[in-house]
Structures are given as C-alpha cells and as structure tokens.
C-alpha cells in the first residue's frame, strides 16, 4: 500500500526502573521498499543517554532483504 503511514506511542517500564516513550512511524515509498522510523526513548540506567534508531528496510529481491539500522546513543555515539 503506497503512502500508508503507521504511528503509535508505547509507554512502558523495565523492572519499574526505565521509563520510555517509543513512538514508531513509517511510510512506504514503493511497493517493495519501506522506510520506518523508530523513535527516541530515555532510560534511567544512564548507560546510553538518549537513543535513536532509524532502521531502513531494503527489500532487495523477493528472497533477499536487508535491514540497516543506524543507532545513535548520545553517551556512546
């Protein structure tokens, strides 16, 4: 489906110690290619700082695919 967009917001906790907001939004550019943005979330662990992951899904062929996800953690880069 071309131009379909998805977004949702999840609230959750890990052992009651982490608090994060995780919005996910995506859109399809073609029938076979999809770009999905996965949002930022904050943790109280303070081991990574803020973290943003931007997965790029690449459907190379019907039997081949790749997911490339650049991920930035402000404390670790």
């Amino acid at each position: 489906v071309i131009g379909k967009s998805v977004s949702r917001i999840m609230h959750g906790g890990i052992h009651g110690r982490a608090d994060f907001i995780h919005p996910v939004a995506g859109f399809r550019t073609q029938r076979t290619t999809q770009i999905r943005f996965s949002g930022a979330y904050r943790r109280q662990y303070q081991q990574r700082g803020s973290e943003v992951t931007l997965p790029y899904y690449w459907n190379i062929a019907p039997n081949l695919d790749a997911t490339i996800s650049p991920r930035v953690m402000t404390k670790r880069v």
Partner: protein
C-alpha cells in the same frame, strides 16, 4: 552504531547474517561488534550442512547494547557447524563450541566444546532380521577442565514376531 541484518532464501540454501558495529564506544573506550551467521545448505543426494556462528567483541556487549531485555542475559553463544547425510539411518559430523560471556560479579564455568561429534546410524533388513547400528563419537574439550572422549556403540539385531491379524 550500525546494526545490519541480511537474510537470503534460495532453493538450496538459506540464512541470516547480522553484523553490528559500534566503533569507538565513548564509555567503554573500545570498539564493540557482534557477528552472527545462520546458514543451512542442502546438496543433492541427501547431504545437508549448517553453520550457526555467533560472536561478540566483549563480555559486556549484550549487557550494554542489547535492544531487548531478554538478550541482556545471554551467556553462552553457540558456534557450531555440521554436515549431515540423511540416508540409510543418518550420519552426521559436527563441531560445536561456545563463547562464554562472563559477568565479573558472577563468573561461571564455561561448557565443554565438542570437537568433533560424529554420529553413525544404520538400519538394514536381512532375511527377516532387523539389524541396526547406532554409534557416536564425541571428543569433549575444555580449556581448564578434564578433556574426555565418549564412544557409544549400540548394535542390535531383532526378529519381530508379528503375524498378520486374523479375522473371521
């Protein structure tokens, strides 16, 4: 950090490759990386092969960088390869070892490696007798504990006393 996942599916082989890399981790002050390959291959005449290889750059990799809670507790990473011949009972050879990720606060004994494991199974019918053979040879290897070899040989001959069911 760059996470890469690549999957492929062909009639004769299929697999999945992960290569994750974080050069110059500012907190750990080193390069961090993960490599994982799952591959299965089949050739003609019942011969198949598989590789399941997982490696991370350091013991704290999953504790620091895993993106799901359940993978933070991974301790033993499988590193295995094998060939199987699936005819007349099935034979196989495999090598299997683990990368053990130690927690400095709770060190554990790492598991034995199997270098190699050979299995031989056969089944044949001779004049109403079922002749079967099951055998295994394993060379257990460990960097600090006792090494050992295990041989299992289980030949058997059986005459099944089975009649055709009778009915009136």
């Amino acid at each position: 950090m760059l996470n890469n996942e690549f999957r492929y599916l062909e009639p004769d082989y299929a697999g999945e490759l992960h290569v994750d890399a974080l050069p110059n981790d500012a907190l750990a002050e080193r390069d961090r990386a993960r490599f994982a390959l799952k591959h299965t291959q089949s050739w003609a005449n019942n011969l198949t092969g598989h590789v399941d290889f997982n490696h991370v750059s350091d013991d704290a990799y999953f504790r620091d960088l895993a993106d799901s809670v359940n993978s933070t507790s991974l301790v033993n990473l499988l590193q295995e390869g094998g060939l199987d011949y699936n005819a007349s009972g099935g034979h196989g050879c495999a090598v299997q070892r683990y990368q053990t990720l130690q927690d400095p606060l709770a060190p554990i004994v790492e598991p034995y490696a199997r270098l190699p494991q050979l299995t031989l199974n056969a089944q044949q019918n001779y004049a109403g007798a079922n002749v079967a053979f099951a055998g295994e040879f394993v060379e257990f290897s460990h960097p600090t504990l006792l090494n050992a070899t295990r041989i299992v040989i289980n030949p058997s001959v059986s005459y099944p006393l089975v009649n055709d069911p009778e009915f009136i």
